[in-house]
Protein backbone atom coordinates (compact mmCIF):
# COMPACT_ATOMS: atom_id res chain seq x y z
CA UNK A 1 0.00 0.00 0.00
CA UNK A 2 1.51 3.32 -0.97
CA UNK A 3 1.14 6.58 0.82
CA UNK A 4 -1.72 7.85 -1.30
CA UNK A 5 -3.84 4.77 -0.80
CA UNK A 6 -3.19 4.93 2.89
CA UNK A 7 -4.36 8.55 3.02
CA UNK A 8 -7.52 7.56 1.19
CA UNK A 9 -8.13 4.78 3.67
CA UNK A 10 -7.59 7.12 6.60
CA UNK A 11 -10.02 9.60 5.14
CA UNK A 12 -12.61 6.88 4.64
CA UNK A 13 -12.58 5.76 8.26
CA UNK A 14 -12.09 9.17 9.82
CA UNK A 15 -15.15 10.08 11.89
CA UNK A 16 -16.98 12.68 9.88
CA UNK A 17 -17.94 15.78 11.84
CA UNK A 18 -21.30 16.65 10.48
CA UNK A 19 -21.43 20.41 10.83
CA UNK A 20 -25.10 20.75 9.95
CA UNK A 21 -26.05 18.09 12.49
CA UNK A 22 -23.98 19.90 15.14
CA UNK A 23 -25.76 23.18 14.49
CA UNK A 24 -29.18 21.52 14.63
CA UNK A 25 -28.27 19.82 17.92
CA UNK A 26 -26.98 23.09 19.39
CA UNK A 27 -30.13 24.91 18.26
CA UNK A 28 -32.53 22.32 19.67
CA UNK A 29 -30.76 21.80 23.00
CA UNK A 30 -30.02 25.49 23.52
CA UNK A 31 -33.61 26.25 22.64
CA UNK A 32 -34.79 23.61 25.09
CA UNK A 33 -32.72 25.20 27.89
CA UNK A 34 -34.30 28.57 27.10
CA UNK A 35 -37.73 26.95 27.00
CA UNK A 36 -37.21 25.28 30.40
CA UNK A 37 -35.91 28.54 31.87
CA UNK A 38 -38.96 30.40 30.64
CA UNK A 39 -41.17 27.63 32.06
CA UNK A 40 -39.45 27.92 35.46
CA UNK A 41 -39.89 31.69 35.45
CA UNK A 42 -43.63 31.40 34.71
CA UNK A 43 -44.00 28.62 37.30
CA UNK A 44 -42.26 30.63 40.04
CA UNK A 45 -44.22 33.76 39.15
CA UNK A 46 -47.53 31.95 39.50
CA UNK A 47 -46.74 29.70 42.47
CA UNK A 48 -44.94 32.18 44.72
CA UNK A 49 -46.40 35.39 43.36
CA UNK A 50 -42.99 36.73 42.41
CA UNK A 51 -42.22 39.58 40.04
CA UNK A 52 -40.68 38.59 36.73
CA UNK A 53 -37.26 39.97 37.72
CA UNK A 54 -37.12 38.02 40.99
CA UNK A 55 -38.39 34.85 39.30
CA UNK A 56 -35.68 35.19 36.63
CA UNK A 57 -33.01 35.49 39.34
CA UNK A 58 -34.33 32.37 41.09
CA UNK A 59 -34.33 30.54 37.76
CA UNK A 60 -30.70 31.53 37.19
CA UNK A 61 -29.87 30.19 40.67
CA UNK A 62 -31.69 26.91 40.05
CA UNK A 63 -30.02 26.35 36.68
CA UNK A 64 -26.56 27.03 38.15
CA UNK A 65 -27.27 24.72 41.08
CA UNK A 66 -28.47 21.96 38.76
CA UNK A 67 -25.48 22.20 36.43
CA UNK A 68 -22.98 22.26 39.32
CA UNK A 69 -24.63 19.19 40.81
CA UNK A 70 -24.81 17.35 37.47
CA UNK A 71 -21.14 18.17 36.85
CA UNK A 72 -20.20 16.74 40.24
CA UNK A 73 -22.26 13.60 39.60
CA UNK A 74 -20.25 13.09 36.43
CA UNK A 75 -22.76 12.88 33.62
CA UNK A 76 -22.77 16.54 32.63
CA UNK A 77 -19.47 16.18 30.76
CA UNK A 78 -21.08 13.66 28.43
CA UNK A 79 -24.03 15.95 27.88
CA UNK A 80 -21.69 18.84 27.12
CA UNK A 81 -19.85 16.91 24.43
CA UNK A 82 -23.11 15.79 22.82
CA UNK A 83 -24.95 19.10 23.04
CA UNK A 84 -21.87 21.18 22.13
CA UNK A 85 -22.77 24.88 22.07
CA UNK A 86 -26.31 24.04 23.19
CA UNK A 87 -25.14 23.70 26.78
CA UNK A 88 -22.00 25.81 26.49
CA UNK A 89 -23.62 29.16 25.80
CA UNK A 90 -26.43 29.07 28.36
CA UNK A 91 -25.46 29.76 32.00
CA UNK A 92 -25.02 25.98 32.31
CA UNK A 93 -21.67 26.28 30.51
CA UNK A 94 -20.39 28.92 32.92
CA UNK A 95 -21.44 26.91 36.00
CA UNK A 96 -20.00 23.75 34.46
CA UNK A 97 -16.61 25.35 33.81
CA UNK A 98 -16.35 26.68 37.38
CA UNK A 99 -17.41 23.48 39.09
CA UNK A 100 -15.38 21.17 36.84
CA UNK A 101 -12.17 23.13 37.41
CA UNK A 102 -12.96 23.18 41.15
CA UNK A 103 -13.39 19.39 41.14
CA UNK A 104 -10.32 18.74 39.00
CA UNK A 105 -7.86 20.89 40.96
CA UNK A 106 -9.09 20.03 44.46
CA UNK A 107 -6.43 17.32 44.83
CA UNK A 108 -3.67 19.91 44.45
CA UNK A 109 -4.67 21.57 47.70
CA UNK A 110 -7.30 24.00 48.87
CA UNK A 111 -5.30 27.17 48.16
CA UNK A 112 -2.83 26.29 45.42
CA UNK A 113 -5.25 23.89 43.71
CA UNK A 114 -8.88 24.78 44.28
CA UNK A 115 -8.38 28.45 45.05
CA UNK A 116 -6.02 29.47 42.30
CA UNK A 117 -7.63 27.42 39.54
CA UNK A 118 -11.24 28.18 40.43
CA UNK A 119 -11.76 30.70 37.64
CA UNK A 120 -9.36 29.12 35.20
CA UNK A 121 -12.01 28.89 32.48
CA UNK A 122 -14.67 31.35 33.67
CA UNK A 123 -12.11 34.06 34.38
CA UNK A 124 -11.97 35.24 30.80
CA UNK A 125 -15.76 35.60 30.70
CA UNK A 126 -15.69 37.81 33.80
CA UNK A 127 -12.62 39.77 32.66
CA UNK A 128 -13.79 40.57 29.14
CA UNK A 129 -17.40 41.03 30.24
CA UNK A 130 -16.45 43.68 32.79
CA UNK A 131 -13.89 45.30 30.51
CA UNK A 132 -16.29 45.60 27.57
CA UNK A 133 -19.16 46.79 29.76
CA UNK A 134 -16.86 49.40 31.33
CA UNK A 135 -15.70 50.77 27.99
CA UNK A 136 -19.23 50.79 26.55
CA UNK A 137 -20.67 52.59 29.57
CA UNK A 138 -17.94 55.24 29.28
CA UNK A 139 -18.78 55.63 25.57
CA UNK A 140 -22.48 55.81 26.39
CA UNK A 141 -21.88 58.43 29.07
CA UNK A 142 -19.79 60.55 26.70
CA UNK A 143 -22.35 60.29 23.90
CA UNK A 144 -25.50 60.50 26.01
CA UNK A 145 -24.23 63.02 28.56
Amino acid sequence: MNKEEYQKLVKKYEPKENKIENVVYAFLIGGLVGFIAEGLIILLMNFFNLSRLIAASWTCLIIIFASSLFTALGFFDNWMTKAKAGLLLPTTGFAHSVSSSALDYKKEGLITGLGSNFFKLAGSVILYGILSAFILVIVRVIIGG
Binding site: K19, V23, A26, F27, L28, I29, G30, G31, G34, F35, I36, A37, E38, G39, L40, I42, R52, A56, S57, T59, C60, L61, I63, F65, S68, L69, A72, D77, K84, A85, L88, L89, P90, T91, T92, G93, F94, A95, V98, S99, A102, L103, K107, L114, F118, L121, A122, S124, V125, I126, Y128, G129, S132, A133, F134, L136, V137, V139, R140, V141
Partner: protein, 116 residues
Protein backbone atom coordinates in the same frame (compact mmCIF):
# COMPACT_ATOMS: atom_id res chain seq x y z
CA UNK B 1 -45.92 33.03 22.87
CA UNK B 2 -42.96 33.89 25.11
CA UNK B 3 -42.19 30.15 25.19
CA UNK B 4 -41.70 30.01 21.44
CA UNK B 5 -39.55 33.15 21.49
CA UNK B 6 -37.54 31.79 24.43
CA UNK B 7 -36.84 28.64 22.43
CA UNK B 8 -35.99 30.51 19.24
CA UNK B 9 -33.73 33.13 20.86
CA UNK B 10 -31.76 30.67 23.01
CA UNK B 11 -31.55 28.22 20.12
CA UNK B 12 -30.34 30.84 17.67
CA UNK B 13 -27.57 32.04 20.00
CA UNK B 14 -26.39 28.46 20.51
CA UNK B 15 -26.56 27.68 16.78
CA UNK B 16 -24.43 30.75 15.97
CA UNK B 17 -21.97 29.67 18.68
CA UNK B 18 -21.80 26.19 17.18
CA UNK B 19 -21.17 27.56 13.70
CA UNK B 20 -18.27 29.66 15.06
CA UNK B 21 -16.88 26.63 16.94
CA UNK B 22 -17.04 24.37 13.87
CA UNK B 23 -15.68 26.77 11.29
CA UNK B 24 -12.94 28.64 13.13
CA UNK B 25 -10.11 27.65 15.41
CA UNK B 26 -11.69 29.38 18.41
CA UNK B 27 -12.05 27.30 21.56
CA UNK B 28 -15.17 27.15 23.79
CA UNK B 29 -13.40 29.66 26.07
CA UNK B 30 -13.11 32.12 23.18
CA UNK B 31 -16.72 31.65 22.17
CA UNK B 32 -18.17 32.20 25.66
CA UNK B 33 -16.04 35.34 26.12
CA UNK B 34 -17.09 36.53 22.68
CA UNK B 35 -20.77 36.07 23.49
CA UNK B 36 -20.39 37.92 26.81
CA UNK B 37 -18.87 40.88 24.99
CA UNK B 38 -21.60 40.56 22.35
CA UNK B 39 -24.17 40.77 25.17
CA UNK B 40 -22.82 44.08 26.45
CA UNK B 41 -22.62 45.37 22.86
CA UNK B 42 -26.26 44.40 22.23
CA UNK B 43 -27.16 46.08 25.53
CA UNK B 44 -25.30 49.19 24.38
CA UNK B 45 -27.37 49.33 21.20
CA UNK B 46 -30.59 48.65 23.12
CA UNK B 47 -31.24 45.34 21.38
CA UNK B 48 -30.91 43.06 24.39
CA UNK B 49 -33.74 44.80 26.26
CA UNK B 50 -36.00 43.87 23.36
CA UNK B 51 -34.77 40.26 23.37
CA UNK B 52 -35.53 39.99 27.10
CA UNK B 53 -38.98 41.51 26.63
CA UNK B 54 -39.63 39.12 23.76
CA UNK B 55 -38.21 35.86 24.99
CA UNK B 56 -37.73 36.25 28.77
CA UNK B 57 -36.05 33.10 30.00
CA UNK B 58 -34.56 32.34 26.60
CA UNK B 59 -32.56 35.55 26.49
CA UNK B 60 -31.71 35.57 30.19
CA UNK B 61 -30.13 32.10 30.31
CA UNK B 62 -27.60 32.79 27.56
CA UNK B 63 -24.14 33.90 28.71
CA UNK B 64 -24.64 37.13 26.75
CA UNK B 65 -27.10 38.07 29.51
CA UNK B 66 -24.05 38.34 31.78
CA UNK B 67 -22.63 41.09 29.58
CA UNK B 68 -26.05 42.73 29.46
CA UNK B 69 -26.35 42.71 33.27
CA UNK B 70 -22.84 44.14 33.68
CA UNK B 71 -23.61 46.96 31.26
CA UNK B 72 -27.05 47.85 32.66
CA UNK B 73 -25.79 47.58 36.26
CA UNK B 74 -22.92 49.95 35.53
CA UNK B 75 -25.18 52.38 33.63
CA UNK B 76 -27.77 52.47 36.42
CA UNK B 77 -24.95 52.97 38.91
CA UNK B 78 -23.69 55.93 36.87
CA UNK B 79 -27.14 57.52 36.80
CA UNK B 80 -27.33 57.30 40.58
CA UNK B 81 -23.78 57.94 41.80
CA UNK B 82 -21.83 59.27 38.84
CA UNK B 83 -18.40 57.89 37.97
CA UNK B 84 -18.19 55.91 41.22
CA UNK B 85 -21.48 54.25 40.30
CA UNK B 86 -19.88 52.58 37.27
CA UNK B 87 -17.59 50.75 39.67
CA UNK B 88 -20.10 50.13 42.44
CA UNK B 89 -23.03 49.22 40.20
CA UNK B 90 -21.32 46.95 37.66
CA UNK B 91 -21.73 43.69 39.57
CA UNK B 92 -25.04 44.36 41.34
CA UNK B 93 -27.23 42.55 38.80
CA UNK B 94 -24.88 39.71 38.00
CA UNK B 95 -24.21 39.02 41.66
CA UNK B 96 -26.63 36.08 41.71
CA UNK B 97 -24.86 34.32 38.85
CA UNK B 98 -21.32 34.89 40.16
CA UNK B 99 -21.95 34.18 43.83
CA UNK B 100 -24.14 31.13 43.21
CA UNK B 101 -21.66 29.54 40.81
CA UNK B 102 -18.83 30.12 43.32
CA UNK B 103 -20.79 28.76 46.29
CA UNK B 104 -22.24 25.70 44.53
CA UNK B 105 -18.95 24.86 42.80
CA UNK B 106 -17.07 25.07 46.11
CA UNK B 107 -19.67 22.91 47.88
CA UNK B 108 -19.73 20.19 45.22
CA UNK B 109 -15.92 20.23 44.96
CA UNK B 110 -15.62 19.65 48.70
CA UNK B 111 -18.26 16.91 48.80
CA UNK B 112 -17.74 14.98 45.56
CA UNK B 113 -14.70 13.27 44.07
CA UNK B 114 -13.83 14.06 40.44
CA UNK B 115 -14.93 11.43 37.93
CA UNK B 116 -12.51 10.62 35.14
Amino acid sequence: MTFIWAFLIAGTFCAIGQIILDNTKLTPGHVTSLFTVLGSLLAFFGVYDKLIALGGGGASTIISNFGYMLYTGALEGFKEFGILGIFSGMLTKSSVAIVSSIVFAAIVALIFKPKD
